[in-house]
């Protein structure tokens, strides 16, 4: 009995299925396959995102039930000098990190592309830091920056007769000091992507340019850079998001006084982390998250607009 019913159903389904055009069938198949990741993303990504928007309007502290408090979290945040300091730091990381790292990685990729001798080995050397965990790297660099007797940089400085530098213990030097390993760590990846982009430019263009008598500089400006634009757009967006979300390096290099001294190195992500997980002010942390989300969205949109394909 059961079997019969099933057969009837399948047959019914089959008849319905056969009535669709090939195009409709394809769409149905596509959506069937897409349904799983969509369901996953809705549950794991989108729902918590909207939840965060709601939490930012409450005073939830994990223990007591969340109470709606309107925009009080945002008022507190915009009145907090630490928030503006952190806001400024976040953009310093972005505005210094992205151009410097892209410039260096492009120059390296441009010249490495011409090197034939030990090409693979050199490329691997550049890529190596990218494989290292940020935590381990942060700690090694943290010790590089120590005062005498263990700090490498201060050891060299004092050997050459210069005064010790405070590096991480300074409000002005600490942010650039953290920036250096962060840029260095990302270089390998950017170089590889740039080189792939360079290789993708047909060599016939270069040959034609040479025959027309163009110099290296003109070739770079008129052919290489314009044709490399899709690669550059990708890397600019990718590295900007990376620098806006910087955390590992800062946290590991300043664990004693996270984001210090005097908030000189604290990025927004770390402020969120501390508000949420050491002060347990989940509502306030959610409000900061909303600001970070907005910044990321705006920066990405601006970059896509500026660097769009005309």
């Amino acid at each position: 009995m059961t079997t019969q019913n099933a057969t009837v159903e399948v047959a019914g389904n089959g008849r319905l299925w056969n009535r669709f055009s090939i195009g409709t069938k394809r769409v149905i198949w596509a959506w069937t396959f897409l349904a799983l990741p969509i369901a996953f993303y809705v549950g794991i990504r989108f729902y918590p995102t909207f939840q965060a928007f709601w939490l930012s309007l409450t005073n939830w502290d994990l223990l007591r039930p969340a109470q709606f408090i309107g925009l009080a979290n945002y008022e507190r945040m915009f009145a907090d000098p630490v928030f503006w300091k952190v806001f400024q730091n976040t953009f310093l990381y972005l505005l210094m990190g992205t151009p410097i790292s892209l410039l260096i990685s492009f120059v390296v990729a441009y010249y490495l592309d011409r090197v034939r001798f030990m090409h693979g080995f050199i490329r691997a050397l550049y890529f190596l830091p990218f494989l290292t965990t940020a935590a381990a790297m942060g700690w090694v660099w943290r010790w590089f920056y120590q005062p005498i007797p263990v700090g490498v940089f201060n050891g060299i400085l004092s050997m050459m007769g210069f005064a010790q530098q405070p590096f991480l213990r300074s409000t002005t030097q600490s942010l650039p000091a953290i920036m250096v390993p962060a840029i260095w760590a990302g270089l390998g990846f950017q170089i590889i992507i740039f080189m792939a982009g360079l290789r993708a430019i047909p060599s016939t263009f270069y040959e034609a340019a040479r025959i027309d008598g163009l110099g290296d500089w003109a070739i770079l400006r008129k052919i290489t850079l314009p044709l490399l634009k899709p690669t550059t757009v990708f890397l600019v967006v990718f590295s900007s998001i990376g620098f806006l979300r910087i955390f590992d390096q800062v946290y590991n290099m300043t664990t004693n006084d996270p984001g210090g001294p005097l908030n000189a190195t604290k990025p927004l992500v770390m402020m969120i982390y501390q508000t949420a997980f050491s002060s347990y002010q989940m509502g306030y942390a959610a409000a900061q998250t909303v600001v970070l989300f907005t910044i990321l969205l705006i920066v990405s949109l601006i970059q896509l607009y500026v660097l769009r394909q005309r």
């Binding site: 994990l62 005062p147 007797p149 409000t171 006084d257 001294p261 005097l262 501390q274």
Partner: protein
């Protein structure tokens, strides 16, 4: 088919075991994971169960980083431990969030608690109720490197007893290179370590002030606070006997034999035990009038809000046992933390112990800071010192800023 048999067998097993313990009570105990603490607690549970055959204790542990969150999440789900361990600084959150219940004064009489435990136990009191009792406590002391003392011509068996002697010893033991850079520090300066406790609960009092008033508001924005800060920052700026950030952390400098003195707690004994040089411990130095102070802290055990009826009774029995003198002796032996009862702590053997002695003596006069957000409040003290050392700000202005910042944290918590 096989599954069905298995299921039947399993359910039979469950019901048999349920029958076996029909008149027994099972209570749950929660603490965070730390090897020796878990071992000590297992030992205490075994002793307790032997003495109380009708009670079984289920021991559950979580990683420290998750611990408070887990307790909160369990409460939200309507479950939770019957006896739970908490840091004294979490009490407001735990009590306010309804995670724990006040101790019944008939079972734990207040006068008895206050009589038998060290005075810092009052940090577990809110209003008229006690919310928990500690097994072990921690305090601070001055660690000194005997080899460096000897090298500097100081008596390694006669460590500094006053602030003046501390400064003199630091000056004598500091080594510098040709450029004036410190290569061996006289004393470590590490505000992110234990120094913020030293400043708040010890130095401020020794300069005639108090860190907080009777209502718990910040009170160190005074001449005493400014002078205490000056004493601390002068160690680097005027005397050049220590450097904030030297060897990264104070304890690392001391452990590497590159610092003659450091202030640290009982919990550091394990890390220092493997140093190649000999070190000693002494009480935190007194001021010129002989006034000493210290900072003590502890993890206490409390009764979960969900426990009632016979479970509550069992939980009370268990709490009474793990805060008994017998339990404290086991804890000291296994974990190395100091007993919270005077009777267990101040035994002749303990007081004569060259390592435990100075820590134990401190418990008589130690204070416990009422933290509402330990990381946040510590940060205000770190920033206060940094403003002077890095930005060259005036001490009085820096203390005033720190006081305002910390008061804001306290006010927000009181809301």
């Amino acid at each position: 088919m096989q599954k069905a048999v298995l299921l039947a067998a399993l359910s039979a097993g469950v019901s048999f075991s349920a029958l076996g313990t029909a008149n027994a009570v099972e209570i749950e105990y929660w603490q965070y994971v730390f090897d020796t603490r878990v071992q000590a607690m297992d030992q205490l549970i075994a002793n307790f169960e032997a003495a109380n055959p009708d009670i079984t204790v289920k021991h559950t542990t979580f990683p420290y980083a998750d611990y408070p969150t887990r307790v909160v999440a369990a409460r939200a789900a309507g479950q939770g431990p019957d006896v739970v361990q908490l840091f004294y600084g979490w009490l407001d959150n735990f009590a306010g969030g309804g995670l724990i219940q006040p101790l019944n004064p008939d079972v734990f009489p207040h006068d008895q608690i206050e009589d038998e435990f060290f005075p810092i136990v009052t940090a577990m009191k809110r209003g008229d109720d006690y919310y928990g009792l500690p097994t072990a406590v921690r305090s601070l002391a001055l660690f000194y490197n005997k080899a460096l003392f000897e090298e500097a011509g100081l008596d390694p068996n006669n460590p500094p007893q006053t602030l003046e002697e501390l400064v003199a010893a630091a000056e004598a033991t500091t080594k510098r290179d040709g450029g004036g850079n410190i290569t061996t520090a006289g004393i470590t300066l590490d505000m992110a370590g234990q120094d913020h406790h030293w400043w708040r609960e010890v130095l401020v009092r020794q300069y005639g002030g108090e860190p907080y008033d009777a209502d718990g508001n910040v009170a160190y924005n005074s001449d005493a606070g400014v002078e205490a800060l000056k004493f601390y920052t002068d160690l680097q700026t005027e005397l050049n006997v220590g450097l904030q950030g030297f060897m990264d952390e104070g304890q690392a400098a001391f452990r590497a034999g590159l610092a003659a003195m450091t202030i640290d707690g009982t919990f550091r004994l394990g890390a220092f035990s493997s140093t190649p040089f000999e070190w000693g411990v002494t009480e935190l130095p007194a001021n010129a009038d002989g006034l000493r102070s210290n900072y003590a802290s502890y993890f206490a055990n409390a009764i979960g809000a969900m426990a009632e009826g016979e479970k509550l009774e069992a939980a009370e029995k268990f709490l009474a046992y793990i805060s008994s003198a017998e339990a404290m002796d086991i804890w000291l032996e296994v974990v190395g933390e100091l007993p919270a009862r005077k009777e267990a702590a101040l035994s002749e053997a303990n007081l004569a112990d060259p390592v435990y002695g100075p820590f134990l003596k401190a418990l008589e006069y130690a204070h416990t800071t009422h933290f509402v957000d330990e990381a946040g409040q510590r940060q205000t003290a770190i920033d206060m010192v940094n403003r002077v050392l890095i930005e060259g700000q005036d001490g009085a202005a820096s203390v005033a800023t720190a006081a305002a910042e910390e008061q804001a944290i306290l006010d927000r918590a009181a809301e």
